[in-house]
């Protein structure tokens, strides 16, 4: 199998699995004081906090581990807005965020919060002028993402962070800035001070760690309330017995990520460029979704193949052992075309023919060449049997 769907989830790295096995068998005690096994588990969590914190320019006690990226987003957004008492509260995000963020915003709207959804341009870049214009003394949360999961756009977080900081000064209080970094962690470095983030969400399974664990960075001094309650833990935000096995796995994944980060990113950039060049050379009538080259996450490539439907392409590739994703309405449980593709101005038909290729450091040149070799005849064949024809040359 050639797995090119790494923005959905990744393979657990063998070293990660080995670490988890050890943690499960040898360090199963609940983190606690004084006993050897209890302190061993507590130190495991501290090491993991420290490693992720150091990588993003934070301190150890500013990082907590959650049950998933989605849970981190929920703690950040619910916990962040509940901690503030502002008259007629307003919340700000963009129309192309991850479904977890958008779902929380819609739930908050039902609670009476007024939500603003920032628009994006044709390549998925945030409209920062609009962001400036909607921030005011009522704003209690701004949430933006590092890399868009569907189209790979690297978003201007530092500029967004500065805009939020300026608005905070005008408002006379800190407006919390949450960054969803789950899809970005694989290819982007993060400095929480440079982007002036107060809250940052991460997910382990996007970087070859296990599912069922995520992390949340909470800047010291940020107003936040717990959204779940239970027995005492290393942080009130994540009560109950910590998932030491998952945390150990996530920690190992972070270690491996940064051990070869620059080399891997450069190599993945080379592979996606190679795939893009091959598609451009051999397949006519295509549209790149998202920015070209440097504006796009190194491991990400999303093309629309016009006049055919994406689920059919995806299934043919699947039968050839190649795993990709599509933004086609036909493949969606909701029967709607992908909202991000619609937000960047694609029509239904263009969204239907979209295929997303997302790589990992485990992919090779041979993977990309095989995928291209299989893709070309599939597109030709589906076009030959389609009701829609390319316009006559």
């Amino acid at each position: 199998m050639i797995y090119l769907d790494n923005f959905r989830s990744t393979m657990v790295a063998p070293e990660v699995w080995e670490t988890m096995r050890t943690a499960a068998i040898d360090e199963y005690a609940v983190p606690a004081a004084f006993t050897q096994c209890g302190t061993g588990a507590a130190e495991l969590i501290e090491r993991a906090q420290d490693r992720l914190a150091t990588a993003i320019g934070a301190s150890q006690n500013e990082v907590v581990f959650t049950g998933s990226g989605t849970e981190a987003i929920n703690i950040a957004l619910w916990g962040g807005v509940w901690a503030q008492t502002v008259d007629k509260p307003e919340i700000v995000t963009s129309e192309i965020e991850y479904p977890a963020t958008l779902a929380v915003y819609r739930a908050l709207e039902k609670e009476g919060y007024k939500a603003h959804y920032i628009k994006v341009d044709g390549e998925g870049m945030y409209d920062l002028d609009q962001l400036s214009s909607v921030l005011n003394e009522h704003t209690v949360m701004v949430s933006m993402m590092g890399v868009n999961h569907m189209i790979g756009t690297i978003e201007p977080l530092a500029q967004a962070g500065t805009i939020v900081a300026e608005a905070s000064q005008r408002a006379g209080r800190r407006i919390p800035f949450h960054v969803d970094f789950a899809s970005a962690l694989q290819t982007q470095r993060l400095d929480v001070d440079a982007v002036k983030a107060d809250l940052v969400s991460f997910s382990s399974n996007k970087i070859h760690g296990p599912k069922g664990v995520g992390a949340l960075y909470v800047r010291k001094g940020t107003k936040i309330r717990p959204i779940t309650f239970g027995s005492e833990s290393y942080s009130p935000l994540v009560p109950g017995t910590p998932n030491t096995m998952g945390i150990a796995g996530f920690d190992k994944a972070v270690e491996l990520l940064y051990a070869t980060f620059d080399k891997d990113v450069e190599r993945m950039r080379g592979l996606t460029n190679r795939l893009a060049a091959g598609i451009r050379e051999h397949v006519p009538h295509i549209l790149l979704n998202g920015p070209d080259s440097a504006g796009r996450a190194a491991s990400h490539l999303c093309y629309s193949f016009l006049f055919i439907e994406g689920e059919a392409i995806m299934m043919f590739l699947d039968m050839d052992g190649i795993v990709v994703d599509t933004g086609s309405a036909c493949a969606a449980a909701t029967l709607k075309p992908n909202y991000i593709l619609m937000a960047i101005g694609r029509n239904h038909e263009q969204a239907h023919g979209s295929i997303r290729f997302t790589l990992s450091r485990y992919n090779t040149e041979a993977d990309v060449d095989t995928a291209l070799a299989k893709l070309i005849p599939i597109v030709e064949r589906l076009r030959a049997q389609s009701t829609i024809r390319p316009p006559a040359q």
Partner: protein, 210 residues
Amino acid sequence: MAIKYTAKVIEHFKSPHNIGVIENADACATEGSPACGDEITVYLKINKATDRIEDVKFQSYGCASNIATGSIITDLAKGKTIDEAEAITWKQAADELGGLPPVKMHCSVLAVDGLRSAIRKYKKEVKGIDYDSTLDVKTVTEELKHVLWPPVGVDIITLKLVKYIGIDQGAVKVEISINSDDKFLDPTINEIVEHVSKIRGVKSVNVENV
């Protein structure tokens, strides 16, 4: 729940029967639209003396379910008289395929509609039998039986999701009752508009969720 296609669907998707175009077809019809999802065109070669379908082909801009249903209904139609072929139902097509996920049933409806439209065109143009009835509540109701509610794959009339149909000089109003935050609400409204719009005499379609 895992949504999977049956082996039969995969087989017909991989190697669809009767794919292509019939030059000088006796009838051809297109159903669906790229904007709404799938589109299918069915071509018929009919023996005018016996009214038997001698050859049938189709093209599809669609997903696996649409392609597989196109393949199976063209198999079913070949060699049948036009009346027999017209009576083929989407349920029959789906059964032949060993079933379809409920959410994909509407793709099979489209393929059957394509076959039926081609036959009715032939009947109208060659045999002089006009099927296009006047625009009334009954015609709209019949048409809405082709709109399926995705979670269960059953039409919205049978499920009593349609509460009211009103017609005023070509303006059709359809009132439905679906939970306002249901994820299938928008696609279903689109499908109602698509289906009702093609009835002769319809000038506008207004769907309201009450």
